[in-house]
């Protein structure tokens, strides 16, 4: 019985680790966890709102190009929670059907006190994401690509 409790505790700790935003690197790992698991709610948590909105709309674009009705929905993104849910659901389905991406070699480059860039490899290709700090959490922020402090 105690063994099962330990296993449960271990799994919950591992789960918590996947959602950590304690460092810029953890934020990037959480972003990929969210993308790979089509976890839109988590994606929302790991990104600043403007970047999240942009991500959702860009990922929804390929769906909209093939579906006129959905395109009309996408045009209204941001106008109501119901519309946003529809767009997010389309992106969730798209992500679910996408191959998971593997990241490696994460290196943090500070951009002052409140921002940091993380360089890494995504399926072997060079990538980078920018992060900014919000309270104690680092979040993906496309606009944080330069040093300000």
């Amino acid at each position: 019985m105690r063994f099962i409790v330990y296993i449960g505790l271990l799994l919950s700790l591992l789960g918590a680790q996947e959602h950590s935003l304690a460092t810029p690197k953890e934020a990037v790992k959480s972003y990929y966890y969210a993308m790979n698991h089509a976890d839109i709610e988590l994606l929302k948590k790991v990104m600043v709102k403007e970047s999240y909105d942009e991500t959702i709309q860009i990922y929804a674009l390929s769906v909209a190009l093939k579906d006129k009705a959905f395109h009309d929905v996408l045009k209204q993104y941001g106008s109501s929670p119901k519309i946003d849910k529809q767009v997010e659901e389309a992106v969730r389905k798209k992500l679910k059907n996408s191959s998971p991406k593997v990241i490696s070699d994460l290196v943090k480059t500070p951009l002052g006190k409140s921002r940091a860039m993380v360089r890494y490899k995504e399926d072997g290709k060079k990538k980078q994401l920018y992060t900014s700090i919000h309270g104690k959490e680092w979040k993906i922020d496309y606009m944080a690509g330069r040093q300000i402090d």
Binding site: I58, L61, S62, L65, K127, L129, A144
Partner: protein
């Protein structure tokens, strides 16, 4: 900076069955500001616009290479490079460090969401020459909208550069719509 209005433009650019759509938006504009400094937010925007310009340039290069008989791309590619150069000039003038942005490889983007945008545009545009020029139309509508928003409150010289970029984008838009009308 795919904004709702740009998505609206997509209807015209990619899904409409009619060949040529009426022109929307206004030329020029951007503000009559006398500001001479740039806020941190504006500098952040400038850096992102610089990265987005590469999406447009690379999309045209790639689609132009696929549809070599469609001359619209070839005639616009050089101009798109000038757009990037103009944005780069502003970044340098206002101390916006662009050294983290690698613009050398066509179709390669270090920021994942820009890679996704490029891949989506190429997937859509590579299906036919008509789809390719419709993608061009969409990119220009998006560019014009982004520049319109980005001009607000910017220093005069930036507004001037943005106005020039917008004028160029309107010319490109005309060229793409002209090409669309021929299919």
């Amino acid at each position: 900076m795919i904004k709702n209005i740009a998505i609206a433009g997509l209807t015209v650019a990619l899904l409409a069955t009619s060949a040529v759509a009426a022109k929307g938006g206004k030329r020029g504009g951007g503000g009559g500001t006398t500001t001479t400094t740039m806020t941190q937010d504006q500098k952040d925007t400038l850096l992102f616009i610089y990265q987005e310009e590469k999406v447009a340039r690379d999309t045209y290069i790639t689609l132009g290479n696929i549809f070599t008989n469609e001359r619209t791309f070839a005639s616009i590619q050089g101009s798109e490079q000038k757009h990037m150069d103009s944005a780069q000039g502003l970044c340098e003038k206002y101390g916006v460090n662009i050294s983290n942005v690698d613009e050398t490889d066509v179709g390669v983007f270090v920021v994942p969401v820009l890679q996704e945008l490029y891949d989506t545009l190429i997937a859509q545009g590579s299906t036919s020459a008509l789809d390719a020029v419709k993608v061009g139309e969409y990119v220009e509508i998006t560019d014009i909208d982004d520049l319109e928003h980005a001009s607000i409150g910017m220093p005069d010289d930036v507004v001037s550069v943005y106005d020039n970029l917008k004028a160029g984008s309107y010319n490109h838009l005309d060229a793409f719509r002209n090409a669309i009308s021929k299919y």
